[in-house]
């Protein structure tokens, strides 16, 4: 089968400019409403439950979800679906343990919650280190994905593609802040859900709208094993480790956690998770159809010929069922996906740098409003430049793997400290600090010692640490260290303020103190 991938596609360029124009118009509108840090970080707390649900879905469904999973399923069948499922099951955890406490206890970042009854400076420094580590890994994955994608779809050089993503994204964040970023996410989520749905329907039209006929066809042509687990999860411990990192990492992703500050109250935070889980679950169910559709209609060999990792399965499928125009639309959607996720990540990195480090550590919480606003924007520029540089430096890295690592760091660095600070009375400043730092650095160290780096990258015969994803070790370790250190360093004030925190957690920030 021939494909027009790799040469400039008129429809793709048209849809891309349409998306950028619309989102920049939104940014212009948002910029006129963004006059304080409250607006810049939290969109003035004016976002509704449905809007925030869509924005959460937009922030979460990255290129790894759309392109990566469709590709994995197209090449290896059932195994790819394990990612679809792993990416979804973190949302109930966010709902039950994180969303409402976060909204009621914090202002702009998740460190507000961890630091609520502890000493500000040490907690915020540790939290900022964890946040920046997660954001960096996640950004690398997105930028590298964007560069490759745009090179293939638009026929422009990799480095130029990275610079374009960086420039447009910085315009959103810098001028429009959280309000613009939220609306970019909403537009993107609607486009992605709509695009994936249309694509799935066009595939199913060939199978009398019956997904089972599609799966049966795949089994007939490529063997029944495509519907069964295979080599991707050959080692059970590896599967468990990846599974736990995907599940608990969602509840530790700084750009996701930051979204809960954009809604007016805890009830809206709750409804936004319901909407987000409905949208994201629906999207991942569609990936079942897109993946097997690409396997049957395009064929694994044709997909591998374009990109070894299979990342172009969804665009190729779009071309096969809808022609070059539809390919252009899906390509622009995939590009919008990356652009929006990068904007969300940069905003959360900027918040960690300016709100946590500059305002609360350097200036001890006493910076005037105009200075906070200025520092936030400078941090956004720094974040944007860093992401462009990282995208260029890490050209050629495996995208899905980097996202898995970002989840492992988030689950080890942020999730344990967040849960312990809200639900465990004896938690102390030293405990929080130890949990976050041990979580971050043990995850980074074990990633370095894993087979992926040691064997695949450095070419050694064997790796000192056997698991590809460190979550199974580092998440329990982070919990354990946090608890043991807390019990060794009693902190009277932290325990005394637990009741006041509970009061605010349930009754909301506007309620009177006890």
């Amino acid at each position: 089968m021939s494909t027009s991938l790799g040469s400039p596609n008129v429809a793709a360029i048209f849809f891309f400019f349409l998306f950028v124009s619309v989102t920049l118009a939104i940014t212009y509108w948002a910029a006129r409403r963004t006059r304080s840090t409250e607006h810049f970080y939290a969109a003035g707390r004016s976002v509704t439950g449905l809007q925030n649900g869509l924005a959460l879905a937009g922030d979460y469904m990255s290129a790894a979800s759309f392109l990566g999973i469709a590709g994995l399923v197209a090449l290896s069948g059932f195994d790819g679906l394990i990612y679809s499922i792993g990416f979804l099951v973190g949302w109930p955890v966010v709902m039950f343990l994180i969303a409402e406490p976060l909204r009621n206890l914090g202002r702009y970042t998740f460190s507000d919650v961890v630091a609520y009854r502890l000493r500000q400076t040490p907690v915020r420094i540790a939290a900022a280190i964890g946040t920046l580590a997660v954001v960096t890994f996640y950004l690398i994955a997105q930028m590298v994905g964007a560069g490759n994608l745009i090179k293939l779809l638009f026929g422009i050089p990799y480095e130029w593609a990275i610079v374009i993503v960086g420039a447009v994204m910085m315009a959103y964040v810098l001028f429009g802040g959280m309000l613009a970023t939220t609306w970019v996410q909403i537009v993107k989520a609607v486009l992605l859900l709509g695009g994936a749905l249309i694509l799935a329907v066009m595939v199913l039209l060939r199978f009398s709208m019956n997904p089972l006929a599609l799966f049966a066809n795949a089994a007939e042509r490529f063997g029944a094993q495509v519907l069964a687990p295979g080599q991707l999860v050959a080692d059970p411990l590896d599967a468990l480790s990846l599974g736990i990192a995907l599940m608990l990492g969602t509840a530790g992703l700084p750009h996701i956690l930051m979204r809960f500050y954009t809604v007016p109250d805890a009830k809206t935070a709750r409804s936004s998770v319901s909407y987000a889980t409905a949208f994201i679950g629906f999207f991942y169910l569609l990936t079942f159809i897109l993946g097997f559709g690409a396997m049957v209609i395009v064929g694994p060999d044709a997909i591998k010929a374009v990109d070894k990792g299979g990342n172009m399965a969804a665009p190729l499928l779009a071309e096969a069922v809808g022609g070059e125009g539809f390919l252009g639309f899906i390509a622009a959607v995939a590009f919008a996906t990356i652009l929006a996720v990068v904007a969300g990540l940069t905003l959360s990195g900027a918040a960690a740098l300016s709100h946590d480090l500059w305002v609360n550590v350097v200036r001890a919480g006493k910076a005037p409003e105009h200075e906070q606003f200025l520092v936030a924007r400078v941090a956004a520029i720094v974040g944007g430049l860093v992401s462009v540089a990282l995208g260029i430096v890490f050209k050629g890295e495996n995208v899905a793997y980097m996202v898995g690592l970002a989840f492992a760091i988030a689950a080890s660095a942020n999730f344990p400290a967040l849960v312990l600070s809200v639900f465990w009375k004896p938690f102390t400043t030293r405990g929080a600090q130890a949990s976050m730092l041990v979580g971050t650095f043990s995850a980074l160290l074990l990633i370095f010692l894993s087979p992926t780096i040691q064997v695949s990258v450095l070419g050694r015969a064997e790796a000192p640490f056997p698991l590809r994803n460190p979550g199974l070790v580092t998440i329990p370790l982070s919990f354990l260290v946090g608890m043991v250190v807390s019990l060794l360093t009693k902190e009277r004030e932290a325990a005394e303020n637990f009741d006041a925190m509970q009061h605010r957690l349930h009754l909301g920030p506007e309620a009177d103190q006890v």
């Binding site: 109930p92 039950f96 089994a219 069964a228 295979g230 079942f288």
Partner: protein, 93 residues
């Protein structure tokens, strides 16, 4: 301890108990699925009807389970939890 404090602690305990149970349920279902993927590959490959392997069915059911658990929590929170919070806010107990 004030009456308000006691009411609040009861609410916090109820919330924590439900949150913990639902989290445990989600983990049990998901890790059960992952363990089957790791150790029972032939079983999951069995096709119930042509095209529908047990693995695909269970995978889709894990997503549906996430929806159901969230629905259970939201139903409890929207009725019982919110009503109790309003009562404590207004009457102080």
């Amino acid at each position: 301890m004030s009456e308000k404090q006691r009411a609040l602690e009861a609410l916090a305990a109820a919330q924590w108990k439900l949150a913990l149970r639902l989290t445990a349920a989600m983990m049990a279902v998901y890790f059960g699925f992952i363990l089957l993927v790791a150790w029972a590959k032939p079983l999951l490959g069995r096709q119930l009807v042509p095209g529908l392997s047990l693995g695909i069915l269970l995978g889709a059911l894990v997503i549906v389970t996430a929806w159901i658990l969230i629905w259970i929590y939201v139903r409890w929170a929207n009725s019982h939890y919110d009503a109790t919070v309003t009562r404590i806010r207004e009457t102080g107990r």
